[in-house]
């Protein structure tokens, strides 16, 4: 079996940026190990100096699962998402990199489908999408859904990106591809995710999608306000003229 052989060879570095996620990080690490039994992987936790003791929990998890499987690569303070990924990649030993949020909105049970999709198609990027059959969102009110649909229609009409979910951040990248695109992405927050996938699409990388479900933050709060919408529109304009 060629696929089986490749599965042995590939290594997946799962980068999880955290800030004050001491509970969620424990849960997510457990769930990753539960659902990824037959793949070679490492979890790289990039913690931005959480004051709540996230790093202490990570050290305890290292005792349980091994320091070679869980890597704590902390930074002194909050330095932004984009640079957290760059920081994580530097320490990644796998040939594939998975990026996911630590807040449990991204469930590790979908990791095998990302991996098998990549093996089947040879894709450079596999991105999780909430907006197809089998995917979905839980915990959004009507306003949030309306904003999300509006933003999506606008982006699809203006950018023709070729993927259905631009702002989702649960993705698997070939490491070299991620290194290539991340260096030219300058946006922040939601727009950063959109910029990554649009630039990848423009560069002609092979992108595939898998359905994922998204359960909005269980512990902690999630925010989407007027300023986010303005940032989104600015980001859209920026991508229109630069890609």
């Amino acid at each position: 079996m060629d696929g089986q052989h490749q599965k042995q060879k590939n290594k997946y570095s799962i980068i999880v940026p955290t800030y004050n996620e001491r509970l969620n990080i424990g849960l997510i690490v457990y769930l990753i190990f539960k659902h990824l039994r037959d793949a070679d992987f490492e979890i790289i936790i990039v913690d931005d100096g959480s004051p709540d003791g996230t790093q202490d929990v990570v050290k305890q998890l290292q005792q349980v699962y091994g320091e070679d499987r869980i890597l704590l690569r902390a930074r002194p303070r909050k330095l932004g998402l984009g640079t957290a990924y760059i920081h994580g990649i530097k320490h990644a030993s796998g040939n594939f990199v998975v990026i996911m949020d630590a807040d449990l909105s991204h469930h590790p049970k979908y990791l095998p489908s990302f991996i098998s999709k990549q093996l089947e198609t040879g894709a450079d990027i596999v991105t999780g999408t909430r907006y197809v059959k089998g995917g979905g969102v839980h915990g959004w009110n009507l306003m949030r859904k309306l904003t999300s649909r509006g933003a999506n229609v606008l982006a699809q009409t203006l950018l023709w990106p070729g993927v259905s979910d631009l702002t989702g951040s649960f993705r698997l990248y070939r490491k070299s591809v991620l290194e290539d695109i991340i260096s030219c992405c300058v946006s922040k927050g939601y727009v950063f995710q959109m910029e990554m996938i649009v630039r990848a699409s423009r560069k002609g990388y092979h992108i595939k999608e898998v359905p994922i479900t998204f359960v909005d933050r269980v512990f902690g709060s999630s925010k989407l306000g007027g300023s986010e919408i303005v940032e989104y529109l600015k980001g859209l304009a920026y991508l229109l003229v630069t890609t």
Binding site: Y30, Q63, V64, L240
Partner: protein, 89 residues
Amino acid sequence: MKHIVKILALVVAITVLWIGLLQTSVIPDSYTWLLPIYFVVSLGCYGLLMVGVGLMNFPTCPQEALLLQKDIVEAKEYLKQKGVNLPLN
């Protein structure tokens, strides 16, 4: 080619087509003058329709929230057993 150039090219092409129609008078001029308005209105309708359809078919997954709660309980139990101190909430 920057994406904005593609979109502008499309706009220019449509404008040229429209001016062509005005010049040749294939259809009565009074209709031709109204075409840009129809175009903008139909673009707006398309947008609203897409948002509406998207909203109506918005995929939700309430069962996933329940499954996640089960996973959380399971994870907490396992980690507690292994001696990892997680906060209660």
